[in-house]
Structure formats: C-alpha cells, structure tokens
C-alpha cells in the first residue's frame, strides 16, 4: 500500500515538472548517467565539496566582518589586546572569534576548508597528470582545472590577508614587494592593485574584500560549472578493464547508487571540516596582534599553499640586475613571479608539449596507469619533486627555530637539492615504472620471493613463496 502511494507521489512530481519543463527525457538520461568507479576519482569531488563548505561558512562570516582599515581601540573580551589600536578589519575578526556565538567554529571551519580545498585540487591535478587524463579531448578541461588551482591559491591568500593581523600584514607586504618587482611596470602595477602605497592605501582592504567574497568566488564557481558541464558532455574517463573500451563507460549509474555515495562524501567532507573547525585550532589571530609595518615575528609561516613561493623567495641568491643604477629586476621577481610563471606555464602547456613530442593526436578516453607511461611519469615526478623541494625549503625557518639546525646550512643544502633531486627522481621513477610495467606487480600489495624460517633443529625451511599478499 505504502509502495503504491509513494509511486503516486513520484509520478505527480514528475508530471508537474514535465508539464512545465518537459524534463523527463533529460531526467531519464541524468539518472542513468554512469560514473566509473575508482578511488582516485574522488579527490576532485572532495575539492568540490570543500568549496561548498567554503561558500556556506564564508557567507556567514561576511555578515560580521568589517573590511576597513579605519582605526579603532580594542575593548573586547580578549584581555591581552585591551587598549590596542587596530583596524576595524582586525577587531571585527576578533569579535567573530570571541563574541559572536559559534563564530569561531565557523571561522576555523572556513579556514580548514580552504586548506583542504587546495590540497584536494593539487592531489586531483596529480591524479589527472599521472594517468594521462589531460589528453584530448580533456585538454581544455585540464586548462580550466589548472586555472582553478591558481584562483584557489589567490582566493586563499586574499582570505587570510583580509584579517589584518601581524601575519597577514607581513604576507601582504611580501605580495606588495613581489608586485613592485615586476620589471619596468612593477610600481605601476602595485599602485594599480593597492590604490597607492602599502601600507597606507585605505582603498586596498575593501578591494581585497570584494575580490575575496565576490570576484574570485564567482570566477571559481563559474569555472567549476564549466568543468563539470564539460565532463558531462565527454563523460568520465576510465581505467582499462574487462568490458571497458575507448567507446563506452562502465560503472555505477547516478541513481541510486552513485548519488547516495556522493552525498555521503559531501557529508563526510563537511563532517571532517566541522570537526577540525571545532577541535583543532587554526590561525589564532589574537596571538599575532594587529599588523604594524615595523613589527615582525620569527618563524612566521603563511598557509601551506603559499609555501612553494616562500621557499622560492628564500632560496634565491641575492641577485638583482641593475643598469646605470636602475633596478631592472628586483630580487622577489625571481621567486615570486618567474617561478610560479614557470610552474603554471609548464602545467598549462604540458598537454600540447606531450602531443608534440609523442605525435599522438588521437582522442583518449581510457586512462593509463602511471607505470605504463614511464617517460611521462618520470617527468611528472621530477617536476613535482622540484616544486615540493622548494616548498620544503619554505619551512626552513621553522626547522631552525624548532630544531636548531642552522638556517644558512639548510638553504645551501636546498639550493643544491633543487637542482639534483629532480634529476634523481626522474631516473629512479623511470626505472621503477619500467620494472613494474614488465613484472605487472603492485608496488605495495604483491611481492615475489621466499620467506625462510628456522626449524627446531636449527636449520632453515621455506615458509612461504611465490606471489601473494
């Protein structure tokens, strides 16, 4: 009986939609849309859901945050800052943390979600790179994805720079210096963005705010929509397997299996982010104090996704070409502009470069396992090793402050590691890939060999041999 009633309700709803939109053919197709199953496909979804949490928590925060560098004196509940002169941006952030009920939970969840958002995008990018998912016809969508990574980093930086605590001010100072360092046009560009000198240009805080809460998020949301629409049009790529060809997709249809699983993932991502937001402190802005240009703190670190740029700034020797006293390229240009330009340029151009080098212009819908393309995998590992080594160098001040390993020595080691490790990584990876490809073994699960134990008489005996877990 209940079954029957259910069916009636569903039929009414479908009919109501049909009468207005004629949506049944589309719905039918959508419900049967097939998702191929592989755990590595979930990173992109995690990024998407982190973005959902970011938007939800972000909207809440905008209702309390005051994007203004106008000065005010703090009289809130946090005693150590009583009587401090600070910007309204900073004092309203303190209020979100201390006086708005549940404000700190939302603020910390927002911050954690931003950190996870970028992690998920980077891991997703690596998945796409190492499985060759960027090949035609997905090269266009890959470029959108790389753009999204750039925007996500920019958005995150804008977000923690808004607060106007000491750390965000130091970060903005560095960003301003990097903008100034662009050859020839740097000062004009920096003035264009900041509306004058930093610090001091009061127009910058509202600009940064509108960039963070409107311009960049709308761009991100639009590009995500395009990213997903293109996936729907081309359908998902899949790993080779029984019954899977270049011409079909084998997997779970959207309704009911995949929809439920994906909603489960959304809820799980939100759960982890809210748990972290509630239980794990992140960016305790009240400890940093308000930004004053003449103050600095040792061991200051930005959010993790800025680490690669900090590392590049640290490792660059003090080279500053100048002619007749004019500074052609101030030093931050190399680490802050040239390095990210090379990294993103490489990412954007890679599909075209690979097409040119391999002469493969065909359409590919079946993925490759990393081992099956040792050359590409080795290039990718070398590239990411290069970036991650520089990223690690970004933390050398923390290593110095916490472990006492001399900073100067570390930087020299890193300067050489940046040149040597990628080459080593290339050859090791290529060798490992060829080995795995020819033996068809799983690097972790399978092993080949003989396990030997001692017998009671002191001799040796074979316990287990062959291939297995």
């Amino acid at each position: 009986m209940a079954r029957h009633e259910e069916k009636v309700v569903i039929r009414r709803a479908v009919r109501a939609l049909d009468e207005r939109l004629g949506s049944s053919p589309l719905l039918k197709k959508a419900l049967r849309y097939v998702f191929p199953d592989h755990w590595s496909f979930l990173f992109g979804e995690i990024a998407l859901y982190a973005f959902v949490v970011l938007v939800a928590t972000g909207i809440y925060l905008t209702l309390f945050f005051e994007p203004s560098t106008a000065l005010t004196t703090y009289h809130g509940p946090y005693a150590p800052l009583h009587g401090f002169e600070m910007s309204k941006a900073y004092s309203s952030s303190l209020d979100i943390s201390f006086t708005v009920p549940a404000g700190l939970l939302i603020r910390q969840t927002h911050h954690w979600a931003a950190l996870v958002f970028v992690v998920a995008i980077v891991v997703h990018l690596m998945r796409v790179f190492f499985t060759g998912a960027f090949r035609k016809p997905r090269d266009l969508n890959y470029a959108i994805g790389v753009t999204l990574l750039g925007l996500a980093i920019l958005e995150g930086f804008a977000g923690y720079s808004l607060v106007d605590d000491l750390l965000s001010g130091m970060g903005l100072g560095i960003a301003y210096s990097v903008a100034l360092s662009i050859p020839l046009l740097g000062a004009n560009f920096a003035f264009f963005v900041w509306g004058g000198e930093f610090p001091g240009a009061d127009s910058f805080e509202p600009r940064l705010f509108i960039a963070h809460v409107l311009i960049i998020p709308v761009l991100i949301a639009t590009l995500i929509a395009a990213h997903l629409a293109i996936i729907m049009r081309q359908k998902h790529s899949q790993f080779p397997g029984p019954g899977r060809t270049e011409r079909n997709v084998v997997g779970t249809p959207l309704w009911p299996g995949y929809a439920l699983r994906s909603i489960g993932l959304l809820l799980a991502v939100a759960a982890v982010l809210f748990l972290m937001g509630g239980l794990i402190q992140v960016n305790p802005i009240w400890q940093w104090g308000p930004y004053e240009p003449w103050q600095g703190t040792n061991g200051a670190q930005p959010d993790w996704y800025m680490g690669w740029l900090i590392g590049a700034l640290r490792l660059m020797p003090n080279f500053e070409p100048h002619v007749e006293g004019w500074t052609l390229a101030p030093n931050p240009f190399f680490g802050g502009v040239l390095f990210p330009a090379i990294v993103f340029g490489t990412l954007y151009l890679w599909p075209a470069v690979e097409r040119r080098l391999t002469g493969d212009h065909a359409r590919h819908d079946l993925l490759e396992r990393p081992r099956d393309n040792p050359w590409r995998t080795a290039v990718g590992v070398a590239f990411f090793t290069w970036v991650f080594t520089i990223f690690a160098a970004g933390a050398s001040d923390r290593v110095f402050v916490n472990l006492g390993i001399p900073y100067t020595g570390q930087v020299w080691v890193f300067r050489f590691a940046v040149l040597v490790l990628p080459v080593l990584a290339f050859f090791i990876t290529r060798r490992v890939c060829r080995e795995l490809h020819s033996s068809e073994l799983h690097p972790l699960r399978d092993w080949v060999g003989t396990a030997v134990g001692r017998t009671s008489t002191g001799g040796f005996e074979e316990i287990r041999s062959g291939r297995g877990d």
């Binding site: 360092s181 299996g257 809210f274 200051a300 700034l313």
Partner: protein
C-alpha cells in the same frame, strides 16, 4: 537508556557488517558486461536497514544537541563536535544505504561521438551564408576591427582610476636633517638609552609611523669596529647606527639582531629579517652577507643634540623598502 541501547545496537551492527564484508569473497570484475545492463538487486538486508535507522537517530541526537549547546554554553569544541558528529553519522548512514540497501548495478553507457563531419560541414556552410552578398569584406573587417579595438580601449580606461601615478610618492620619506628620533610612544630616544647587543626601533617625530620610510632600527657597536662605506664619517656618533627597519627584499620588519656572544666562533653582529632571513652586516653599513636581499639597508645619519637625544643628520643613504625600477643605487 534507550539512546545507550540504540548506540550499542549501532555498534554491534557496524562490527557485524564489517565482519560480514571482510569474509565475503571479493566479487570478480564483471567479465565483459553485455549491452543490456547486468543488474544485481541487493538482497534486502534487515541488518543494514536497522543500522541506517540507528545512525539516523544518532544524527538526530547530535544535531539536536547543537542548538542546546549554542544556547546554554557557547563552546567552540562542543559545537564543532555536535555538528561534526551529526554530519559524520549522516554520512555513514548514507554510505551504508548506498552500499547495502539500494540495488547494486554495473551499467554500460556509450560515449558520444564528438566529431560529426556532416554536421561540421553544415555549420561551416551556415556561418559562410551569413556573409553572402558582402563585397567589400576586407574593408568591413578592418572597420569592425578598428571599432572593436577602440571601444575595448575606451571601456578599459576607467580602470586607470584604480591606482594613482607612481610619481614621487614612493621615493619620499619623512626623514629630514635635525628631525628627532622618537620611540613608539613619541618620546625622544636618548643616546644614553642605546645599549650594545640589543636594538631599539625609532620613528621620525611627528610623522606617520606606518609609512615604510619611517621606522629605523637603532643599534650600538664599539666605534673602533665601524667599517662604514666611504662618505659616511660622523653618521654613527658614539657607535650608534640607524638603518631603515624595512627589509630591502620584501618589506618585512627587520626584527632579529644576531649579536655575537663570543666573537671568535659566533658570527659578526648582523640584523636579520625574519621573513626570508636576509642578513645585514651592522659594521659595514648593513651590507648583505646572506639571504635574498639585493642591496644593503639604507642608513640614516645620526647626530646627538644638546639634550643628548638622537636626531637625524639627513635623509637615508638610499631608497628604503622593497625595490622597483626607480630604486636608484650607487653603481
């Protein structure tokens, strides 16, 4: 009590399902699924249904505790725990439902063919038709290009109001000959207050301390150790030196002073920027001895007035702060 029983049953169910799953032989991958969908109806599992129901009730408990905590004791940890657990349990319920309750099936879908030559031809023909009968194509194209470019340029122009012209703003600092050096609260700094092995921060009296050209770091070394560049005689009375506090690399405040404790083994006295560890030699006019900074910290000539207070003996030896094209330096 009911809640405890519910949670207990949920726990038992989780263990049972985990155990059950681990013993279930992994299904072989479907060998070449036929065009028609190979559908496998999930055997209705009462246990899974019970688990989902239990989890949903647990969600209700956690979620309902959120407003209670909010109203009674606004505690970030408890709030996060309540909301996070509610979401986590709901996620578990949905995932169990997805895996154990709803039909499991492997479906095959054909990929759309992206390239359709006949339709492409059609598109090309349609686009071409639009320009049928137009004779002066090149001139038209030229005119349209001119119109588009100039209109685009006109629309971009308002963006110019975003930033002022660089002009001299970026070059000027408040330091003038005779200006008193004051501390954070505006009190003059006496020459007797400056000690070796530590540093003070000074500002130009009456100026905006938040300008990059304002703050200076003041240190003192024995005058016999001074090795300042030529032309800076008398800039460091009694060994008291003032350098711009803003790093010439990336505008952070120089806030570390590496003062040697034992000269033979420890390095020479140096000012260090905490951001990227640019290191400046205090004795030799803040010459760069390590790190990415491309030029020394500009030095502020100091003098001591009749009341033994520090005053500026002039402007900086070079432009302070991060470099740009117009950052002139002595070649």
């Amino acid at each position: 009590m009911r809640l405890v029983r519910l949670l207990w049953r949920a726990l038992v169910a989780i263990v049972l399902i985990a155990f059950h799953r681990s013993r279930r032989p992994t299904p072989a991958p479907p060998a070449a699924p036929a065009r028609d969908q190979s559908l496998r109806r999930a055997t209705p599992s009462p246990r899974a249904e019970q688990l989902v129901i239990a989890l949903l009730f647990a969600v209700a408990v956690c979620a309902a505790s959120f407003p209670v905590i909010y109203a009674v004791h606004d505690d970030t940890q408890l709030l996060g725990l309540a909301l996070g657990l509610a979401l986590a349990l709901l996620a578990a319920a949905v995932i169990v439902a997805a895996k154990e309750l709803v039909p499991y099936e492997v479906a095959v879908e054909e990929r759309p063919e992206l390239v359709r030559p006949e339709e492409e031809e059609e598109v090309v023909r349609l686009v071409e038709e639009g320009a049928e009968g137009v004779s002066r194509r090149r001139l038209l194209g030229l005119a349209a290009g001119a119109a588009g470019l100039s209109l685009g340029a006109a629309l971009i122009v308002p963006a110019a109001s975003l930033g002022p012209n660089v002009g001299n703003i970026i070059r000027e600092t408040p330091w003038r000959r005779g200006r008193r050096v004051v501390d954070e609260r505006g009190r003059p700094i006496s020459a007797d207050a400056v000690e070796t092995r530590t540093f003070l921060t000074g500002f130009p009296e009456g100026a905006d301390p938040r300008e990059l050209g304002s703050p200076v770091v003041i240190v003192k070394i024995p005058p016999s150790e001074l090795q300042l560049p030529a032309g800076r005689d008398g800039w460091a009375p009694e060994g008291i030196l003032a350098y711009s506090k803003i790093c010439t690399h990336a505008a952070c405040a120089i806030s570390l002073y590496r003062s040697p404790l034992y000269e033979p083994t420890a390095p020479r006295p140096a000012l260090v920027c905490p951001c990227h560890y640019s290191t400046f030699d205090v004795r030799r006019g803040a010459a760069v001895i390590f790190g990415p900074a491309g030029r020394p910290l500009p030095q502020l000539p100091l003098a001591i007035d009749g009341e033994r207070n520090l005053i500026a003996g002039g402007g900086f030896s070079g432009p302070p702060g991060p470099a740009w094209l117009g950052t002139r330096r002595r070649s």
